[in-house]
Every structure is written in C-alpha cells, then in structure tokens.
Symmetry: C2
Subunit: 455 residues, 2 copies
C-alpha cells in the first residue's frame, strides 16, 4: 500500500494492520522505545513508526540506520505525541536494504550547493522531494489543459540541419571522429550520418506552425538546447519548453489563451500539492501562496511597450539602465512594472528591431505584434507573438535580418495561410515561479550548465 493512500483516509484505518514499504528518514531511540520517521516517496508527508521493548525485534530495529529501505507491518493508532494525529505501532519490520552511517543525506540542514553535488540523492530531501513532484504535476497540468482544449501534442524534431532558428547558439551533433579530423586535417560533412552538418534545435516553433495550419491548435512540450556559456541562476544549456501555436488567432486571443492556461496550471498545482506549497511558503519564499492565489484571481494588464517606457521614464527611480523608447527593458524595469500594476502584465507591440523575424509587423511599420508576460517576482515568464502571415513581408524581413529563407516555412504563407499566433514558455521558469526556488539548477533533476554534464 502507498503511504499517500493511507494518509488520505487514515481515520478509516484506525486499529487496522497495514504494510508499507519505504525508507527510514530519521530515527530517534530511547532506552525502551524508538521513533522512525518513515517515507515512501508517494506523498510529501511522512508517518511516524513507534516500537518498544515489548517487540521481539526491539534489539534489531533500534540498530536500523537512517536511509535504510524497510517493509513495515504495523497497526494504525492515535498518536499521543505532538505533530501527528495518527502513527503506526510496529508489529514487525523487514530490512530490505541497509544504509551505512556515512550516508550523505543525514537529517540536518544541507546547502543547495552541497546537494547539487549529490544530485542522485537529493530527491530524498524534503526540498527536492517537493520540487520534483511539482515538476511532474505541473507538466501534467500543462498536458491536461491543452488536451482538454483540443490541442494536438506535437513532438518537434530535435536534430536540425538549420543553424539559424534565431533563438540562440546551437550545439553541433556529430558522428564523425574528432581525433580523425585532427589527424586528417579536413572535415567531410558528407560522411556525417545525416549527410550534412547537424545541430540541436533551439526552438520547435517554426515546425509547430506547420501543425497549427493542419490542426488549428497544437503545442510542443519538449527539450530545447542552447550552447550559451552563461553561468547565471536562470540559464541552463538543456531545458524544457512549451510552445503552443494556434491558427485563426490574433495577439489578443493569444493573450486570452495564455492567461487562461497559466491560471489553470497554477491552480491545478496549488490544489494538487497543498503540503508541498505549505513547505515552500514557509521555508523557501514567504508569501508564495498569496502570490499564486492572487495570480489565479487577477486580470492581467495589457499595455504597449511604448506606454511602459513612458511610465518608467516618469517614475521617481534612479535606474541603472535608463528606459528608452525603441529599446529593450531591463530586469529592474520588469520588476517596477509588475509592482506598478500589482499583478501580471502583458507588454505588447515591441520595437521590431529587438524582436524575431517571424513576428507580425504592425501597421505603424515600426512595432511587431509581440507580447511578453511579466509576473511579479519572476519577470518574463512567456514570450508570445502573432506570426507574420504575409508572404512578401516575411521574406523581406528575413532578408533584412539575414535569416536564410526556407521554402517550407515561407510556403505556409502561400498554401492556405492565415492569421496565427503562438507563445513559448520556459518550463523551468514556470517552476521557479511556482516553488520560489531561485536557481534553475535546483528545478532540473540533472542540470546541464557550463562545466556540468555529470550523473
């Protein structure tokens, strides 16, 4: 039986015998009795096992180490101690797997830096047990939302012969022997498995557009790779993205979808994982639950980039970066704006020169129909745009920006093209927002950052 199942209706089990399998997370021994803090990983909560010297196994059980795997048979009883209503009085325990005393995950406070070095053990700690369950539940909430709204899940290809998708530096993949290249002095790409140079994708959006124009509504949810050599709290070289794409949808409708989707996902996670949320609220980010509940109940502001710059310029703040029309906005500006509106803000209609080639040119000829969603406490969470559906305007912009023109992508504008929009949400950015955890390395089970490719 799973501990989750037991705890959900533990009253019904009072006086009954149960068998559980899991791990000893802590063990306090007295002369004639002992307490084991037991977890099986199926829920955030643990249960207390009590045993005393009336138990024929007493001398054996009291020697069990922290970290050991056990099968316990016991009776559910009301607890006399503080901290829990029920506990389990041990009838017998079978030691499934011992754990030596040099086990690194002793029940004391560890730094996140230390735990990163023990990545394969850290899901056994409260913090990471909670973080990676949220990762799982949030991923499911995203699938659930899109599937229930009629979207087709699209697996974008990860190998690509393109080296210019316009979203960042790429990793090259190869089947050539680098040592042989060094020896022979030449690179023969025709010898590659794919017959040419290949890279790892930085975005599935362009391919997702081909599905939107067949299924009307589609979304990707898959890994993405960027070769940036940045060692920051928010950059990883391997991360997961969600990229929905919708035909017959303009930027306003796109924003409606983003707002609806985000509220749904946040609510689903908050409702599904109340214990984890309490933990984050108490130990990671005070006020996290208020922040999330506020988002669920708010109306997102929609304001143009132009008007945002005006507000920033009028603000009585000494900026590190002076806000200017036609230019990008900095982290300090994002923070100010979400505080100014006291909630999530879509900043729309960005200067075309700081945005990607595929975004729809507005009638002013200067701005594009893009919208970035800024949320209090986390900055930019989603980037969105209406896509340029006009063949001539798109090809002109690609040439201006030196983007290689690709027939299939352009042809989408020729063969029954239509107004369409989409957005991209970094999954880890969402998790940072949902958990209050600050470093992207702590929301990915095995993070890949410059210098780190172990485990």
């Amino acid at each position: 039986m799973d501990l989750k199942e037991l705890l959900e209706s533990i009253k019904d089990y009072e006086g009954k015998e149960v068998t559980l399998q899991g791990w000893i997370r802590n063990h306090r021994k007295q002369k004639t009795f002992g307490f084991i803090d037991f977890s099986d990983g199926t829920c955030f909560k643990h249960v207390q096992l009590v045993y005393d010297d009336n138990n024929p196994q007493f001398n054996e059980i009291e020697k069990y180490h922290i970290g050991s795997a056990i099968t316990v048979n016991g009776t559910v009883v009301k607890s006399e101690g503080a901290g829990q209503d029920y506990e389990i009085k041990v009838n017998s325990i079978k030691l499934e797997g011992d754990c030596p005393e040099d086990y690194p995950m002793q029940p004391k406070r560890h730094t996140n830096e230390f735990l990163r070095e023990q990545a394969y053990l850290r899901p056994r700690t409260n913090l990471f047990q909670a973080v990676f369950r949220i990762r799982s539940v949030a991923a499911y909430a995203i699938h659930k939302y899109f599937q229930e709204h009629g979207y087709v899940y699209f697996h974008a290809p990860l190998f690509t012969a393109s080296d210019a998708e316009g979203a960042g530096e790429m990793f090259q993949v190869t089947t050539l022997d680098l040592e042989k290249i060094a020896k022979s002095g030449e690179v023969d790409y025709s010898k590659e498995l794919f017959g040419k140079k290949a890279n790892l994708t930085v975005s599935g959006q362009l391919e997702a557009e081909t599905f939107a124009l067949a299924y009307k509504k589609t979304y990707t949810f898959g890994p993405t790779f960027r070769a940036e050599n940045s060692n920051t709290k928010t950059h990883a070289n391997e991360f997961w993205m969600i990229e929905p794409e919708i035909a017959f949808c303009d930027l306003e409708q796109d924003m409606d979808i983003m707002e609806d989707m985000l509220k749904y996902v946040v609510k689903y996670v908050v409702d599904t994982c109340p214990n984890e949320m309490d933990f984050f609220d108490k130990f990671v980010e005070n006020g996290l639950k208020d922040k999330l509940n506020k988002l669920i109940n708010s109306n997102f502001t929609r304001i143009s980039h132009h008007d945002v710059i005006e507000i920033l310029q009028k603000a009585d703040v000494k900026w590190e970066f002076e806000p200017k029309q036609g230019e990008d906005i900095a982290k300090e500006h994002e923070k100010y704006i979400t505080e100014y509106f006291n909630g999530p803000v879509f900043i729309t209609n960005w200067p075309k020169d700081i945005k990607a080639f595929y975004m729809k040119l507005n009638e002013d000829g200067e701005t594009v129909a893009a919208a970035d969603l800024e949320v209090p406490g986390a900055g930019e969470l989603i980037g969105a745009s209406q896509r340029e559906e006009n063949y001539d305007k798109l090809i002109k912009r690609m040439k201006e920006m030196n983007v290689p023109t690709t027939d299939w992508y352009l042809n989408l504008r020729k063969f029954g093209g239509c107004v369409h929009s989409g957005f991209g949400m970094g999954f880890e950015r969402l998790l940072i927002y949902l958990t209050g955890v600050e470093n992207i390395r702590d929301v990915i089970p095995y993070p890949r950052t410059p210098g780190n490719c172990e485990y």
Copy 2:
C-alpha cells in the same frame, strides 16, 4: 467555434447559424451550385458546405482553390445527399488565405514516400491527420495512466558525459569548431562547454532508478538518440521512449503493471478516436480494431525463454534461423509464439549473455529476470527487467561486461537499496501497433534517419 464541438451535437444546431474557420479540402462545382469539403483539423471528420447561385458571392466562391483558408458563416441544415446527415448552407465566406493550383496536396491518392518529401504538408491529409492525432492522444493516455497511479514524471538528462549506457551507439555533441580542429591538428576537450567530451543519451533508465529510490514510482517520457546507420522500417535516430521504474517491485509485479498500462492506453485511444480507428481499420490494416479489442480483453501469457525455445524447436516449421537454447530469438520466432498463444506473450528469464549488465541474475546463475513483451503483428513492444540490487553481483557483472563502474549508480545499492524493476517502451513502436502504419518514418512528424535531417 471548433468543428469538433459542432459535430458532437450537430442536431442541436439544426437551423442555426454557425461560424467556422478552416480549410477547403475539396471543391466540386456545378453550374448553379457547389460543394466544399471543409476541415478545421480539430477532428477527423469534415463537414460539407453547400452554396448556390442565389448566394451573392456565388461567382467568387466557386473560384476558391483547394487548400485555401476560409472563414465561413452558414446555417446547419439536413443534408439531402449521401454520406452525411447534416451540412452547412453557406451564407458568406471570407477568404483568409488563398492557395495556388500547384498546391501539392490535391485530393487524390499520394504514396507515403511522396508525402514524406512534403512532411510539412502531410498532416493535412486524412492518413497523417489521423496518425499524428493518435500520437498526441496516446502520449496523453500514457501521462494520464502514470499520473493517476501516483508516478512522478522524470525528465532524464539528454546530455551525458557517459559514453557507455549499454543501449546503442551515441551521437557526440560539441561546441568545438570542427574546421579549427582540422587546422590545428588537435582536439582539446577541456575547451568544450561542458569541459569534457559529451554525448546524447540512449536511455534515461539509470537516472530514473535514482528517482524510483526516492519516489517509489517514476516514469520518463522523452526523446532518445541512437547513432545507428540502419535504414529499416523500424529504426530512427531520434525517437521517444517511456521508461517507468518502480521500487519494491519484482518482475512479476512489473509485468502486472505493463499489462495494466498497455490495456489502459490502447482502450483510451480506441475510445477517444473512433473515427481515426475506423479509417485505419478500413484503409491501413484490416482487422486492426479486432486486434486492439482482443488485447484489451486478453490475459497476457507468461513463459520462460527456455520453454519458448522448446516450443519453437518442436514446431513443424522450416526456420530461417534455427531456435537454440541460450540464444536470442528472431522475428519469425516472435511471430510464431504470439500466434501459438493467440495473444500477447511475456517471454521471461533470458540467458544473461544476451541481456544488459543491470538485469538481476536469477538463482540459476545463467538467466536474468528480464521480460520482453511480444504482441501479435508487431513483435517486441516492451523490454523489462528486475534490476540487480545486490552491490557485489552488480559490480562483478559490470566488470565482466567491461561497463565502466559509476559510483552513483552503484551507491543506489548501498544507500537503502531494494528490489526494483522497470521497463522501456518505444513510443513509435506503440504507434505502429496502434495505427497499423508500417514505417516508423510515418509516425514521427519530422523523422530523423540516416541522410534525413531536413525540415
């Protein structure tokens, strides 16, 4: 409004005005009236639009090309023609995006080979519209099953410094400039972004075991890469795998889970996509629906590799490959065995020398606790095993098989290890089974195979 929504309760809309947005899939014109076969991609079924010369737009509409994107406003009426109960009498149509007459997706029979060359347009055809919706729905069914059964979804890392996960040839990833390597004559791996040589993963299983020993039940669902240069119907260099891993679970329990999961997923897809299933049954694999319904209602046979070989040896068949104890079985043997038992078969307890290092050695010292699931018509669908949880036996086996010993993986057997099992299911293999489509290139939106990395 989505066509799916309309068709689900079209009776209620009789006599009412509706607005739809989608594409002209076919267009038959008569002197005084015309029929448009209309689809918006939200469901497999199309709807017929009828217009006649009482419509002020008649001269315009009759010129609309196949493939064009339109917004149509019309009235739902009973149909007088065969093939549909209701149709839409056009009030007005707005042309959203034209489509020239050289559009490759004309409504006639195309070969799958031709459509592969038009991968970005093929989801607009009936066959691929159905295949890729099944891909989406099956993916969701898998998530739904595991999430509802308390599994934590684990994103395995895709970059790995390991070059021996034991499951196939690896692609190397690099940030080095190959031309410079050729010029300089040396490879300096310390200059890599990760500070060392890195590859793309061939399996997330080993890392998934770390999650099983923290959460009890976990599953991966992500891309996997193999650099094999094989041009067959069943090999792709990039594909998606599902790798569940369960603690306190032996091989028998593991088989229970596989059987339960597979029946759930097949049933979910059959129930959710009846129109697609009818299409496959009629045009792709006669008897497909019977095959799938039979699986849902069958009990999977469990038989040892030893006993399978005996059955094969006794069979009155002239084999291309003679079945032998201690050796692997061929496709012809798989086929015979599923026909012999008239349903899915788990073949268990395989000779250790033809299986992976991590599989649990049975007490006979000769076989391992592995189980392959063979299904009628598709051969091997899932590979499973109990994992060796004994530290000494595992390290001995790794040394025998020249697998580099990894501390973290071995330590899982030291720090509260326990009996645990898991399995790996190739997602595309499942899709081939579900749709009857024979070539893996036709169940992946943008397949990556030797020589093919386009789009």
